[in-house]
């Protein structure tokens, strides 16, 4: 991967991480987490671990759904 791309995807991941840390709203946090994952996936793919990328991108929403269960309760 050329450095420019690394910087861009890394930037996406960092934006996701920082905003997940700073945003106060739960839904906003979860969405930021999704942005973080979006930044991470290209790095996995770039190293050629496609199977890992598939599994990770399937597991990430499951974790989010788990968290949503309590977010829903905390929110209601």
């Amino acid at each position: 991967m050329i450095p420019a791309l690394e910087i861009m995807f890394g930037f996406i991941a960092l934006v996701g991480g920082v905003s997940a840390a700073l945003i106060l709203d739960y839904y906003g946090k979860l969405i930021s987490l999704g942005i973080l994952v979006a930044g991470v996936i290209p790095f996995i793919v770039d190293r050629g671990y496609l199977d890992v990328a598939i599994t990770v991108s399937l597991i990430a929403p499951i974790a989010t759904i788990f968290v949503l269960r309590v977010v829903r309760r905390a929110d209601a």
Binding site: G10, G17, L24, F43, R47, Y49, V52, F66, A74
Partner: protein
């Protein structure tokens, strides 16, 4: 010294700070923030090509998230 590794460490650091000094100080916020350092660690593992460990780590993190979620549900139900 590659980008993946540095990025991983940065996210790990951000994540740990986010969990340690969580805002707002609720269980749910902390639980969500807990995922951030996990992704940082994932990138560190990726930098060293530890894929099997990485996969297991992600699966197990999701499971432990679920364990805590379940605990919080019990709590909400009983309080």
């Amino acid at each position: 010294m590659e980008a993946t590794f540095i990025l991983g460490l940065a996210i790990l650091l951000i994540g740990v700070l986010a969990v340690a000094f969580v805002r707002p100080k609720t269980y749910v916020a902390r639980l969500i923030n807990l995922e951030i350092p996990g992704w940082g660690l994932l990138l560190v593992m990726l930098a060293y090509d530890e894929t099997l460990a990485l996969l297991t780590f992600i699966a197990v993190t999701a499971i432990s998230t679920f364990v805590i979620v379940r605990l919080m549900e019990w709590r909400d139900e009983s309080c």
